[in-house]
Symmetry: C2
DNA sequence: GTCTATAAACAGATAGAC
DNA sequence: GTCTATCTGTTTATAGAC
C-alpha cells in the first residue's frame, strides 16, 4: 500500500464522516461524499465496496470517539463528585469540537439498534462498579442515596442534550451562535454544580 | 368533502406519521406509507401532492404535540418547584405514549432548522417571563440563584434524553424493556427530586 | 375518489480504459 | 489507483381508465 493509497483512503473516510454525520445514512449521497473528497464516485467503491461498508467504517470510528472515554472515567477509582466534574468537562469539550455527533449517533442507533452491538464490542462496561461505588458513598454519608442509573442518566442527559436540541434552545431562549457557545461553556460548571448540590447531604 | 374523503386523509396522515417518525424523512418510502394505510401510492399524491407536503403536515402535527404543552406550563403563574414537577410528569408521560417522537423531531430539525420556524409560528414563547420569575424567587430566598436557561435546559434534558438514548441506556445498564419502562416511570419523581434538592437554599 | 401502468429522475454499483 | 461511461434497481410523481 503506497502513501497515496493511505491518503486517499483517509480523505474518503474524513469526507464520509462529514457528510454522514450531517445528513445521516439515508440522506447522504455517495456523489456528495466523492465531491467533498475531491475524487470520483467510483473510487469510493474501490476502497469501501458499498455505501453500507463505508458507513460502518465511519460509525465505528465515531462510536470509539464517543463512548470509551466516558466509560473509562465512569469506571476509574475516583470519588463520585470528581467523576461528575471530569465527565462534564471532557464530554462537553468533545461535543463542542464535534457538535453534530450526538444527534447523528443516536439517530442511527435508533434506526438500527444492531449497529451498536455490531460496531462496538467494547460496550462491556461493568455498570456494577458504578452501582457499588454510589451505594458505598451513600452508606458512608458522603452523598445522598440515589440509584446509579438515574444519577448517570441525569449527568449524561445534561451534557449531551443541549447539542441535540441546539436549534430549539437557541430559538426558545433567543441566543445567537456566540451566546450559545458561551452557554455551553457555562454548562461545564453548571452541571457539576447542580448535581453536587443535589447529592450533598444536609449538614 | 365526503366522510370517506376525510377518513382517507386522516388514515394517510396517521400512517405517514408512523412511518416518518420511525424512519425519518429520508428513510421513509411513499410505498411503505401507502401499504400501511392500506391504499394505493397514487392516493398519497392525490391528497398531499408531494412527499414534502405530506411530511410538512406530519411535522406540524408533531410539533404542536410536543411544544405548546410545555410552553404553556413554563409560562403559567405557579411556583418554580411546581413547574418542575408538572413538566416532568406531563412530558415523560407524553413521551411514554410516543417514544419515537423525540429523536425524530430533533433529527429533522437539525437536518433542516428552517422546518422549525416554518411549521411552528407559536414558537413565540416569552422566555423573559421565566427569567424574571426565577430571579424573583431567588431574590426572595425561595430558591438558589441560577440562570433560567440552565435550569430549563437541565429539566428538559433529563426528561427527554432517556428516550433519545434508550437503546444505549438499556445496553449500558443491562435493562430489558420492562426494566426500562420502570426506570422511566421512576424519573417522574427522580427529576423533580434532583432539581429541587439542587435549588433548595441551606437552612 | 381510487386504481393500474408508466414516465422521469436518481442513486448505488460495475465495466473497462488509462 | 483513478477516471468516464453505463447498467440496474429504486423512488417520486403523473397519466389516464374506471
Amino acid at each position: 500500500m503506497t502513501d497515496s493509497d493511505k491518503n486517499t483512503e483517509k480523505t474518503i473516510l474524513l469526507s464520509a464522516r462529514k457528510i454522514f454525520t450531517i445528513k445521516g445514512f439515508d440522506g447522504a449521497r455517495m456523489q456528495e461524499i466523492a465531491d467533498d473528497a475531491g475524487i470520483n464516485k467510483a473510487l469510493l467503491h474501490y476502497y469501501y465496496r458499498t455505501k453500507d461498508k463505508l458507513f460502518e467504517a465511519v460509525f465505528k470510528e465515531v462510536l470509539n470517539l464517543i463512548f470509551p472515554k466516558i466509560i473509562s472515567i465512569l469506571q476509574s477509582p475516583i470519588p463520585v463528585f470528581e467523576k461528575i466534574e471530569k465527565i462534564s468537562l471532557t464530554y462537553i469539550e468533545m461535543l463542542k469540537q464535534n457538535p453534530d455527533l450526538a444527534i447523528f449517533v443516536f439517530h442511527e442507533i435508533s434506526r438500527n439498534p444492531r449497529r451498536l452491538v455490531e460496531n462496538f464490542r467494547n460496550a462491556g462496561i461493568d455498570f456494577e462498579i458504578i452501582r457499588s461505588q454510589i451505594s458505598l458513598e451513600a452508606a458512608r454519608g458522603i452523598i445522598v442515596p440515589i440509584k446509579a442509573e438515574h444519577l448517570i442518566t441525569n449527568l449524561i442527559s445534561m451534557c449531551v442534550f443541549p447539542f441535540i436540541a441546539k436549534p430549539v434552545l437557541k430559538g426558545m431562549m433567543g441566543m445567537d451562535e456566540e451566546a450559545f457557545q458561551q452557554f455551553i461553556e457555562e454548562r461545564k460548571s453548571v452541571i457539576p454544580h447542580t448535581l453536587i448540590l443535589s447529592l450533598t447531604p444536609d449538614k
